[in-house]
């Protein structure tokens, strides 16, 4: 792939993101759907498509999608309807999917994304509600395809972007932004690996300067943020190469193969379904009143952008730190909780950024899975602030706290890490050090003040790390400069 080609072409990318909602029950049936349960146990006659059953709208679904619409600056339709999308597939029990077609509930919104060096506003065409299908399992039985309908009927929202994205990196940033928003709103857990967040991409390329869009392909089966970026990158190159070599891009749906790191054809335009959308007669229109809208607006949590600014203003942290700490809503919640308990924002920030994030990265876990509660962490911070422990002891105790439920103070005591601030004991210690190191004393007195570190180090060594370094410094100063 030559760089020249890349300079001559630009990509046009639009994303369709499906987010599985965290409602307690399915979209249209009063039954829970929990990831990982035994196949076909989370079902009702409705989920199985039994004759005579009727869908019933889950009210949370409507509230959740309105939240999402408000958070992404969308217009909310006062009246919108459900539609049926008709096609045959074994994991689609009714032979149609309940979705929205002509009148999505949210429309014409935007999100702002930040990339290195620039910010960009990405338009949202629409956000609509639909139900999920079941799962076809092709690799567990050599002769048959198995169908698990636990997921059938779970509520999804589909977020469709305008074709405003130009690079795989922008697509990645946009997707991360969507994930952040759904997490902040607590409408979806944002987990791509478990499939609660899914993404399809429409990709086309055109010569720079040309307004007319090129022929697009639709990419499916990208099950991580990185895969989305990689697949789009691959597809852009594939299309450019095709055009450069005199070929033509054909409208088709392509699957991303993350092992081979390439896309391959799934179906052509000719094979595309005619979904025969029509208004869902079993469900009345969704009416959103102004009161309902205001009520939901008032329940909206503080979103990341606003929170970042507040953190900079309230806690005096740098913008970079504010971005890092608000990236994940739950990390920001955790941090604020630690601040509440400890009363010390700066110390809290330091511990969360250095120690907590280190552990999350090392163990590849989320903050929700992190074992130390904000309250316990704040106790540790207080020990340090009250000079009961020193920095190195703090780290040792923190590591111990990961497996040990004991209070930080008890752990410090049992590990013999409480600082000694007893002036009698320290005085004796300092006197010994002065007596045993005449050379260093001589040089210190002659002006080599850096040797203070040596004396403090000796004191720490002799006290097995327990000496209060501040007091040691004061004593050495007093004794040698007097």
């Amino acid at each position: 792939m030559s760089t020249i080609a890349h300079e001559r072409f630009e990509a046009v990318i639009g994303l369709e993101v499906h987010a599985q909602l965290l409602t307690n029950s399915k979209a249209f049936a009063p039954v829970a759907s929990i990831y990982g349960e035994a196949p076909n146990t989370q079902v009702t006659p409705l989920c199985l498509g039994h004759p005579g059953t009727l869908p019933v709208v889950n009210e949370n679904l409507v509230r959740y999608i309105i939240k999402m619409g408000l958070a992404t600056n969308c217009g909310i339709a006062p009246k919108s309807i459900f539609a049926r999308k008709n096609y045959f597939y074994p994991d689609l029990p009714k032979g149609y999917q309940i979705s929205q077609f002509e009148t999505p509930i949210c429309h014409d919104g935007y999100v702002d994304i930040e990339l290195e060096g620039y910010n960009k506003r990405i338009g949202l065409t629409r956000i609509h509600m639909e139900e999920d299908a079941g799962k076809s399992i092709h690799d567990q039985d050599p002769y048959n395809t198995l169908v698990d309908l636990n997921r059938a009927g779970t509520p999804l929202i589909e977020i469709v972007s305008e074709p405003d994205l130009r690079t795989p990196q922008e697509a990645y940033a946009y997707l991360s932004k969507i994930k952040q928003i759904v997490q902040y709103l607590e409408v979806c857990d944002g987990n791509m690996e478990e499939g609660s967040l899914r993404c399809d991409a429409n990709v086309s390329v055109r010569p720079r300067g040309q307004e007319k869009l090129g022929t697009r392909t639709e990419l499916k089966n990208m099950n991580s943020f990185r895969n989305v970026e990689k697949a789009i990158e691959y597809e852009i190159y594939r299309q450019i190469e095709l055009i450069e070599s005199g070929g033509e891009v054909v409208q088709q749906t392509r699957l991303w193969d993350s092992n081979k790191m390439q896309t391959r054809i799934m179906r052509s335009k000719e094979e595309a379904h005619d979904y025969r959308y029509f208004p869902e007669p079993d469900l009345p229109p969704i009416i959103v009143t102004d009161e309902m809208l205001e009520e939901i607006r008032s329940e909206l949590p503080e979103l990341a952008d606003v929170r970042q600014k507040r953190f900079v203003a309230d806690y005096g942290m740098s913008e970079v730190d504010a971005v890092t700490i608000t990236e994940d809503r739950y990390l920001a919640d955790y941090f604020e909780s630690v601040v509440d308990y400890s009363g010390n924002a700066k110390a809290s920030l330091n511990v969360v950024l250095s120690e907590v994030l280190r552990i999350l990265n090392e163990k590849s876990i989320s903050i929700q899975e992190f074992s130390i509660t904000p309250q316990r962490l704040s106790e540790l911070i207080k020990l340090k602030e009250e000079d009961k422990i020193n920095s190195s002891a703090m780290q040792t105790i923190f590591n111990k706290m990961l497996e040990d439920e004991g209070s930080p103070e008890d752990l410090a005591k049992s590990m013999n890490l409480i600082q000694v601030s007893d002036s009698g004991f320290l005085e004796e210690l300092v006197d010994d050090i002065i007596a045993n190191n005449p050379d260093e004393v001589e040089r210190f007195k002659a002006g080599k003040k850096q040797l203070m570190g040596f004396f403090v180090g000796q004191a720490m060594k002799a006290s097995k790390g327990k000496a209060n370094p501040k007091m040691v410094t004061q004593m050495v100063t007093k004794k040698l400069e007097a």
């Binding site: 004759p51 019933v56 005619d274 079993d282």
Partner: protein, 510 residues
């Protein structure tokens, strides 16, 4: 005994004159004797019915019985009953048993109705004669050479043959009222949303209503009172309060305003039926009713509109019958063998051919069904009957890309105009009167090969379904050909009391 009204049965049980079990036994004897010929019931369970009868008997004696105590009922095979065969008279559901009770069944049981069995119908309620049934046609008890009407023919015939004193049917374009007219019984289609559709196997979801058949207006009112009302399992069911229908028919008002639409008394209507209905109206007028000429100008598009919208919904509603999870599935191995043989034949032909022909054959090979697609096609081809296939194809066609606006879109707009016609008319009148059907019941087999002629049987009933309003058919007389015919009263949405009142006035003329 099965000609007694629900209230009469209950009174006689209470007075000791009758045992409820005897009424159920009488029902069994009637069915044993006549069902071979009439073919109204497709399934009965008298062991259970007799057990229920004994329980209800005790409740009647102890004064704790529900509103339906005394009712011995049959249910159209399109309404789900737990652990009972629910086949919609279709091969594709042969052997299928529902895993749950429809809301109407729950409500009837809770009010102590005794259900003895399930009733014949046109497959998936598509038809006007009950001839399109896997169980064969039902026959009209008044003359067994004649059709019962349909699609709820079994439900009407079971009443006309005195097999039970009440039954449930469903009405999508006239499927309750038209067979009620042909069989000489009372049949009521409630307002759309008045009765929960949960457990009614869907034909056309925005048209379907469940309603009662009975010997008399009061029993129909009683059944309606029990099955009507909001149901959280059906988002299209209404929270509008349910009326005191029984009380209404017990004290009917005579000075009502009756709209007479010119459009429903013109060409195509049997002159004798026309005369008979006009005579009935004259008597009502003499008794204090006011007759008001009205117009429903858009109703003439009713049949065309209906067959676009209803079939569109049907094509989607019937997609679930795919042979994957339940119901009929084609012999898989035979299907796979057949597919393989076809593939081999094609390959051989390709080898032998050359030029354009070879190319064409290769394209054909490319287009060959996958095993899954073939499984769908064969299962559905084998499982569905002729009329159902016709409507699925029609509905699929009108929803197809490029045709949607011309058919579905336009039909929806006409539907709104028809609804508006009725809304305007009901500003002036309490009820609208029409014949229920243009003719009396005709000979079995005489229209089965002429679907368009068949569709015209619903010409007077179909617009009520398009408008979502209620309608009732009550016997109005007997034709010189010996067959009964009905008079229809239509009422505005949730005005079931008004149409029952009018129907009761006609009943009182006898």
């Amino acid at each position: 005994m099965t000609t007694l009204s629900i209230a009469e049965v209950r009174a006689k049980v209470l007075s000791g004159e009758l045992k409820l079990r005897d009424v159920v036994e009488a029902s069994r004897q009637k069915i044993d004797a006549q069902n071979v010929e009439i073919n109204a019931f497709v399934y009965t369970d008298f062991e259970l019915a007799l057990k229920q009868a004994d329980e209800v008997q005790e409740k009647i004696m102890s004064g704790t019985a529900g509103k339906m105590a005394g009712a011995v009922m049959g249910i159209k095979d399109v309404i789900c009953e737990r652990e009972k065969p629910t086949t919609c008279a279709s091969d594709i559901l042969a052997g299928f048993e529902s895993v749950y009770d429809a809301t109407v069944i729950e409500r009837l049981k809770a009010e102590d109705a005794v259900i003895v069995g399930r009733l014949n119908m046109d497959e998936f309620a598509m038809g006007s004669t009950t001839e399109y049934s896997r169980y064969g046609a039902s026959k009209n008890p008044r003359n067994t050479r004649k059709v019962t009407g349909g699609s709820s023919g079994g439900s009407a015939a079971a009443i006309a043959a005195d097999m039970v004193n009440a039954s449930l049917g469903s009405d999508t374009g006239g499927s309750i009222r038209q067979p009620a007219s042909y069989c000489g019984v009372v049949g009521l289609k409630p307002t759309y949303g008045r009765v929960s559709r949960y457990g009614l196997v869907a034909y056309a979801s925005s048209f379907d209503s469940i309603g009662p058949f009975a010997h008399n207006v009061e029993d129909a009112a009683r059944v309606l009172e029990v099955i009507a009302g909001f149901d959280e399992m059906d988002n299209t069911s209404s929270r509008e309060p349910v009326g005191n229908y029984v009380e209404t028919v017990q004290n009917p008002t005579k000075n009502i305003r009756i709209g007479v639409p010119e459009e429903f008394f013109g060409e195509g209507l049997d002159p004798e039926i026309k005369e008979g209905i006009e005579a009935t109206l004259k008597k009502l007028e003499d008794d204090g009713a006011e007759l008001v000429p009205i117009h429903l100008p858009h109703t003439k598009y009713g049949i065309a509109t209906y067959y676009i919208l209803a079939t569109a919904e049907a094509s989607s509603n019937l997609a679930r019958f795919d042979g994957i999870r339940y119901g009929h599935r084609t012999d898989k191995d035979a299907m796979l063998d057949e597919l393989k043989a076809e593939e081999e034949d094609l390959k051989k032909a390709i080898k032998a051919a050359d030029g354009a022909e070879k190319k064409e054959l290769q394209a054909e090979l490319e287009r060959m069904d996958s095993a899954l697609v073939r499984l769908y096609k064969k299962s559905r081809t084998e499982g569905f009957g002729m009329e159902v296939k016709r409507r699925i194809m029609l509905g699929t066609y009108v929803l197809s890309a490029g045709y949607y606006d011309a058919y579905y879109g336009k039909a929806q707009r006409v539907r709104r105009l028809i609804k508006q016609d009725y809304t305007d008319a009901f500003k002036e009148v309490d009820v609208i009167v029409t014949p229920t059907a243009p003719t009396t019941a005709f000979d079995i087999g005489s229209e089965i090969d002429d679907p368009l002629q068949m569709y015209l049987n619903d010409v007077y009933t179909i617009s009520a379904n398009l408008a979502g309003i209620c309608g009732v058919s009550v016997p109005a007389g007997t034709h010189s050909n010996g067959m009964p015919y009905g008079i229809q009263f239509m009422g505005d949405t949730f005005q079931e009391s008004k149409i029952l009142n009018a129907a009761r006035l006609v009943e009182m003329l006898d």
